[in-house]
Structures are given as C-alpha cells and as structure tokens.
C-alpha cells in the first residue's frame, strides 16, 4: 500500500512494509468474507431493476441508460421525483410487503375489529398507495428480513397456537392460562416467520416457527418451560391467503399479501387516519392512528413500519435487513434433544 505523503507535512507516515502487507491482506480477506455474508446477486438485481425503472422509456425505443436519466439532474440536483405514479410491484416489493403484512397481522392477532371509522382526516388513498408502491419498488429484486421486538405490557400472558400467538392481560383475575412474557422477538422472511417469547429475565420461554406453503401453514412450537414441542398443519383457504380481500384486518395471519394492499384496504375502509409526523427511531415518521388507539408509524422513505403501539398489549419496534445467511438463520428452529412431542393446542 502506498500512502506515504509526498510533501513535508507533519507528521510523515512511517515506512513499515510488514504492517502495510498485514493491513492490506486483512482488508482484502475481510472484504471477501463480507461478500460471502451478503446476498450480492439479490442486491444487484434490486439495483439494476431500480435503474431500469428509473429510466424513462419513450415508445418504440430501447430502455435508456441510467446516465440519460441522471444527467438531467447533475451532481447537486435533487433526486428524481419519487412519485412518478403507480408502478407495478416487483417481486421483491411484494415479498417485502408480505413480510410486513405478516408482522402486522401477527401483532394485531386478537385485535380483530379494533379499527372503526375514522374521526380525522383520511389519507388520500390512491396517492398514498402509489407512494407506497413506489417506495417498495425501490427495494425491488430481493426480500427483506423483518425483525420486530415487542415490549409487552407487564403481566401479559402469551400462548402459542397454530399460526399465531394468543396474547392476554395477565394478573390474578385472568382466566387465561399461558406463559408470562416480557417481550416478543419476531423474524420474518418471505413465507417464513419465527417468534420467540422472552421472559423478564431475558430467557426464551417458547418459540414458534411458521412456514406458509401453497395450501397449508405449518407451525412448529417449542415450549422451553415444559420441554415439549408440537407441530400443526392448517389448510390455508383462499381467504386466508389473501387477507386484503377481507375488511379491516380481521385478525387473520396473512402469508403472501402485499403491504400496499393491506394499506389500501385499511385506508379504504377507514381503519387508519393520518395523524401528522413524529420522530421515531431517528426517522420523521408518518403517524397513522386507528380509532381504537392503535398507532402505526411508517418510514416515509420506504413506507415500511417503524413502530406500532397497541394499547394494553405493547409497543413493537421494526427493523428491516437484507437477507444474509446470518439473518436468515434467525428463522430456523431446531427442537432441542430430549424434548417431548405433544399434541398441538386447538387454534
């Protein structure tokens, strides 16, 4: 490596070939190892797809280069108008949306009918959804791994059931039996999700993994407290696979629906109202409020959820990651040796 200064500036760099060799070799090796952790092809496809989408395409001409689009602005120009109208969702957008939908639906499971007609200003649905579609299209070409951490209201009791988690307020007056949990950690990717209930001491009490197939949803749950596990398979009806056709989040677990579709449905039936902006997780997020008090904050840059608050249940923080072997490993569940298989509970 050559970074010796040519001038007389102070201090001069040293001349240490051994250190140079070590640093250069390590950097190259680390770069190669980092490449092995990344889904480069997916990210590249996403970028190329975004490049192709950003280029205006006059009729009868081939797709122009990115340069022809970018050169119109210049280095200091503002980026292209992020709202060029409705765009077709790409596979990655749909997948990302599905992941969001799963997260949202899991979070609202048990809150069926929580939304009602809005009292405030309703968002201009079409324009909003167009922006959502565009924002998600920016992620075109690959899937996002969703991470959601829900800090539960103290005393909350959870119970894994096939396809979802039951969540109830605990306490002496509760008639529900279940596991006392302080928080829930969920990972989602495409048609898979894995959720772990964690107790106040930070120890996992149960993990539930769901895999949605074409016609069935398979759930595997490990109960660390009882040292048991169970597997359940449910047939997925057409309605369950396309929950957007239902009105106002009925509490079903969506497995393959798109986020814009969910938002479109919720807005069209008046489930959410826009409630200004709030800074969440360093983001000037759009705040959407359901009349029952459910609040959803959305990143205006990506239109992915940043935070969600359910009165009486807890607050969920979302993170979105590129798919890597490390992040995908979060979705895998291995039944520990010696655990006893039991019959699954009734859904």
């Amino acid at each position: 490596m050559r970074w010796r200064p040519r001038g007389q500036g102070w201090p001069k760099d040293d001349d240490n070939a051994e250190l140079d060799r070590l640093l250069a070799g390590t950097w190259e090796a680390a770069a190669a190892a980092t490449g092995g952790l990344l889904d480069i092809q997916t990210g590249k496809a996403a970028l190329v797809a975004a490049a192709a989408q950003q280029a205006p395409r006059p009729s009868g001409s081939a797709a122009p280069s990115v340069a022809s689009v970018a050169s119109a602005g210049g280095q200091t120009a503002r980026p292209a108008d992020p709202r060029p109208g409705k765009r077709r969702l790409t596979a990655r957008a749909a997948v990302a949306a599905g992941a969001v939908a799963v997260l949202i639906a899991v979070a609202v499971a048990g809150a069926a009918g929580a939304f009602s007609a809005p009292n405030g200003q309703q968002i201009q649905t079409d324009a909003f959804v167009a922006r959502v579609q565009h924002a998600l299209a920016a992620h075109a070409g690959g899937s996002l791994v969703g991470y959601a951490r829900t800090v539960l209201v103290p005393g909350t009791v959870v119970k894994p059931v096939p396809g979802s988690w039951g969540t109830w307020p605990g306490g002496a007056g509760s008639r529900r039996s279940g596991l006392a949990a302080a928080e829930m950690i969920r990972w989602t990717y495409q048609n898979e999700s894995a959720g772990t209930a964690v107790d106040a001491a930070g120890q996992p009490v149960a993990t539930e993994q769901n895999t949605a197939g074409r016609h069935a949803l398979t759930t595997v749950t490990v109960d660390y407290r009882d040292r048991t596990w169970w597997r359940a398979t449910q047939a997925l009806s057409a309605g369950a696979r396309t929950p957007a056709h239902r009105s106002c989040l009925s509490g079903a677990l969506p497995t393959s629906e798109t986020w814009p579709s969910i938002i479109r449905q919720e807005l069209s039936c008046g489930a959410y109202t826009e409630d200004g902006r709030q800074r969440v997780d360093g983001i000037d997020a759009i705040k959407l409020t359901g009349s029952s008090g459910v609040v959803l904050w959305i990143d205006p840059g990506t239109y992915l959820p940043v935070r969600q608050a359910f009165p009486g249940v807890g607050v969920t923080d979302f993170r979105w990651y590129r798919a890597t072997p490390a992040s995908l490993a979060k979705l895998k569940l291995t039944v520990p040796a010696g655990f006893r298989r039991v019959a699954p509970p009734r859904p």
């Binding site: 040519r6 070590l22 490049a51 210049g74 990651y321 890597t324």
Partner: protein, 182 residues
C-alpha cells in the same frame, strides 16, 4: 490506486460517459462487500445494518450516477454519513427495556472466515480511537488524503496525523517494529 497521491479512484462512472444498468451491476458486485466492510469497521454498525446502509447509498446514487465525478467516493461518503446518522438516531432513543446482549452472528461469521492473524488485525483496527479508526478505514478503502479530509471534515494534516498515530498503535498492538519516524 494510490491513496496518498490524490488521484481519483478509478470508477465505472469515471470511465464511462453513459452508464448502463449492467455496468452499475458489475460495479455493485465488486464494491458492495468493500463498502459494507468499510461501514462496519468505520462506524461500528453490525453487518446487517451496514449492508442496509450500503444498499441505501447505492440506491441514492442511482439517479445521479453519470453526473458524479467520482461515484465511488460519493458512495462511500453517503454511506458513511448515513451510518453516522443512524448511529446518532439510535443513541437518541430512550430504551423502554434492556435487551440481553446477543452475539452478532454476521460479525461472528465474518470473523470465522478470517485467519487468526487477520482476526487480530480487525479487532485492533476496530479498537482504535474513533477518529483513527475512521481515517484508517478510509485509507484502506483506497481514498486519498484530500478525499478523506473532505469526507471527515478534517484538514489533510489532521488526516495524516490520525493515520500516523493509528499505524503506530496498530504496529504496537500487533508487535510490529516501526521503522519510520516523524
């Protein structure tokens, strides 16, 4: 590329008047792992977050790619600023609860790929004081003093000074005798 000679780094954008998606894709394939590594080391973000930051930088660069005189430098600068902003935003958060520390599997996997000596180098690199770590990251990524100074808001002398001390610290921690002097 000679980080110290002030010459701009060779880039796809620099040599092509019109850059097509395929060329950007090739550039991405080559540069993405290096950018992720750079963000990881220079800002301390985990691999997942760094990958997210890097992808964001690429997406931001896209609409203005051909107009950039040095897309690579622009990319690294945007990624660096984005990572710093995310770090600050996270520090502003008021935690509602304390999560137990969990191993960063991405970083662990990264470490597993490296030889023992290289792991040691990476650990010492990350353990440098922040400014020294940043300057070394930019230097190892192949940028000139002028580019590093502009990116970090430092004078060129300050860049040289930080790098000098960083290299001295690294050599000391790695048990390598320094031959040069000021």
């Amino acid at each position: 590329m000679s980080p110290g000679d002030g010459a701009p780094a060779p880039t796809v954008g620099a040599k092509l008047g019109g850059v097509g998606p395929a060329e950007i894709g090739a550039f991405y394939e080559k540069e993405m792992p290096r950018l992720v590594l750079f963000v990881t080391v220079s800002t301390g973000l985990d691999v997942h977050a760094s990958a997210d930051v890097a992808q964001t930088a690429f997406e931001r660069a896209l609409p203005r790619w051909a107009a950039l005189r040095n897309p690579r430098a622009w990319l690294y600068r945007v990624a660096h600023n984005e990572a710093i902003a995310r770090g600050r935003a996270l520090r502003r958060e008021i935690p509602v609860d304390v999560l137990p520390d969990r191993a960063d599997l991405g970083s662990a996997a990264l470490a597993a790929e490296l030889q023992a000596e290289q792991r040691e180098v990476m650990n010492h690199l990350r353990g440098l004081p922040p400014k020294q770590c940043q300057v070394m990251s930019w230097t190892l990524a192949g940028f000139s003093d002028a580019e590093i100074a502009a990116a970090l808001g430092l004078s060129r002398q300050a860049v040289k000074q930080s790098r000098y001390y960083a290299r001295r610290n690294l050599a000391k921690r790695l048990g390598i005798a320094m031959k040069g002097s000021r």
